[in-house]
Symmetry: C3
Subunit: 281 residues, 3 copies
């Protein structure tokens, strides 16, 4: 059920990233920071990482967007998230939260909740267990991975769309729930994206990479948060599909990791337009 008009719109969001080359400040975990940086570069934006409170707001000041990822958080980085987040809001920058592992520890759940309370995020991107932990207070997350029982499926799709929209309304943010089926919703509309491959979950950090890339899309497309976030999710999923086409005998999750970033590097508006599987509900 491809919607032609929207599809045509989505391609322009990628072009805007490549044209504007936004600078993205990432306060992010050390596990996937390198891949996030290369993914952000792959779509034509520039990354900078900093989590020291004394410079966090200064770094945000020179950037166009801020990606806050709470994986491997610590007391200093939490302070930096608040300081940089406040500055980003004052400047009207794109501001994204990736609540890695919300539900896995009290500290992560409370940190994400406090950030949502104090800041106004343009978008919040997580797996379904993380978003449920934030919006429903559930704690079914399996570490940093979604619990299989939580998964968005064709069977529960209608209910999950309502959940995503409700969550978006209560937070005032675009909510991006990514997994086998991605939902990207605001209070009124929900993009359902069926790009991607299940093997993406065998790589650490594809979600973190998407959060960095999505922040770049938000920063390069001010005023179009919902569609820009959906375009980023479609681009990442499509990159996973294209990358699989380059896998040969013996290739596993490490090579797949590289090939996904490579596919982002070669992603064009035309490819995105041709390959995206999106409907609006």
């Amino acid at each position: 059920m491809m919607q032609q008009e929207e599809a045509v719109m989505l391609e322009s969001y990628l072009d805007n990233v490549r044209e504007n080359a936004p600078l993205v400040h990432n306060i992010t975990n050390y596990v996937t920071a390198n891949d996030v940086a290369n993914a952000v570069l792959a779509v034509g934006a520039s990354p900078i990482m900093s989590d020291e409170p004394e410079e966090a707001a200064d770094i945000t000041q020179i950037c166009d967007g801020l990606n806050i990822n709470i994986g491997t958080l610590h007391q200093q980085s939490i302070r930096s998230m608040h300081l940089a987040g406040k500055r980003a809001m004052e400047l009207g920058h794109a501001l994204l939260l990736d609540p890695v592992g919300a539900g896995a520890s009290k500290l992560r759940t409370e940190t994400a909740a406090a950030l949502i309370e104090k800041l106004h995020f343009t978008a919040i991107r997580g797996n379904i267990s993380e978003i449920k932990a934030l919006c429903l207070g559930s704690t079914t997350t399996k570490g940093v991975d979604a619990d299989a029982a939580d998964a968005v499926t064709e069977a529960n799709l209608a209910d999950m769309i309502v959940f995503a929209k409700t969550c978006a309304k209560s937070c005032g943010s675009v909510i991006a729930i990514t997994g086998a089926i991605d939902l990207v919703a605001d209070a009124d509309a929900c993009y359902v994206i069926r790009n991607g491959r299940k093997e993406m979950s065998t790589i650490t950090g594809t979600g973190c990479q998407l959060s960095g890339v999505m922040t770049a899309f938000l920063a390069a497309n001010p005023g179009h948060a919902l569609a820009a976030a959906a375009a980023a999710a479609a681009a990442m999923g499509l990159a996973g599909e294209i990358a699989m086409g380059y896998m040969t005998e013996g290739d596993g999750n490490a090579t797949y990791r590289n090939r996904i970033i490579d596919a982002l590097y070669h992603m064009t508006a035309e490819r995105l337009n041709r390959g995206e599987r999106i409907e609006i509900r």
Copy 2:
């Protein structure tokens, strides 16, 4: 001198990892954290990294095993190691120590010694110089690499097996000394593993990766620490051999890094059974 009965047993330890998909908490260095996560995923387990004292025990609580790696340690992460380690012991979790760089600084040597004194590790995995630093108080380590003069060779094998068993007895842990020849011992028996390739030492973090993978094997095979640790070491060594078979002209240590994780991803009980070169002494 392959021992058929044990060989058949070892293959089941890998199957148990893929079937149980244990969640492994890693308090580990930022140099190799990404590779550790992808290696743990490659064998079918799930990684989570956290080194913040306020959440360390909570994270361990939801996991099945804890991998403590003292590379790039800092004051906060040392506190987390003790807090999470204590909780892991209370819960009967698999608990592994990787004493990266023990012998290279007073802080590392003392931190490893204090952890061994306070906690009871299921297994301790390091290179020969690190294990000597812990058990003999020597400081011949060359940074994070073993000193060539310390190497386990066919010539000193009998003595090194005695050393490994003595060390295992005094620590009450399985001792895994990895290098050109791997020794995995408890007080009574020592697996001698001749898998692996010398080129693995040209990549940063193959030891760290093995520690993450070994923790997954220990967590998925409770009550079989010695054989599970040996199976993990054989799997990693064999992955290094298989990976070398995929190297083509121009490929170097960066590509080899990816290919080893890829080989872990495709490792099966049948391959492990066929390729492992293990004897028990």
Copy 3:
């Protein structure tokens, strides 16, 4: 305008790295630490990372060179930079500063300035915007990337050489300004290096990698800082060219990252001698 005599000299600097296998202490950012370690290993040296003040000087003590990189700096790592830097000076070790993001925040600019004031660096390596921030007090840097308006070009080359020499004279250090054209200067002479590919800027951390590699070259070639630094820059640039020759359809910046390190791994004095494009001004 290849200068044959110098070209012959440069090849010996790589041989010395492979022969002496210096141990390099890196106080560096978590974004690119893994790539730095693999790049240092690729040229035949050994890396160790540590940024904890309690062990920083001890770690430096057992090493041959110290690479201080201020990316993702924090209060503790800044203390470690001073402690380890002081010890490295006392021991006469090679000491390199990579002022990542100088000009991007007050903290980074001031940290770099304080390090230069307190320590005597063998070499300082950065992009042109970072070096201008340090030597001219300008703040045109685009995050961690150079501002295009600052670029060293054939048109402004004569002026930039004067700038590099002046900067080297005032710091008493070799100044390495890397970009499309690399300048490696002391007060009296400037190597102009035209190796490299523009696509290297689509990968995070090629500069960080070069800083680690350059520290290894400096450590293995005491008393020849200028030529050793130039040899390292030429080797990295040439690796970027060789790596490009192995790129096939679908390969992007993630694969290119691996191929550059692979090319360093296979770099020989003979290849360097044949491929380097260097003149002395």
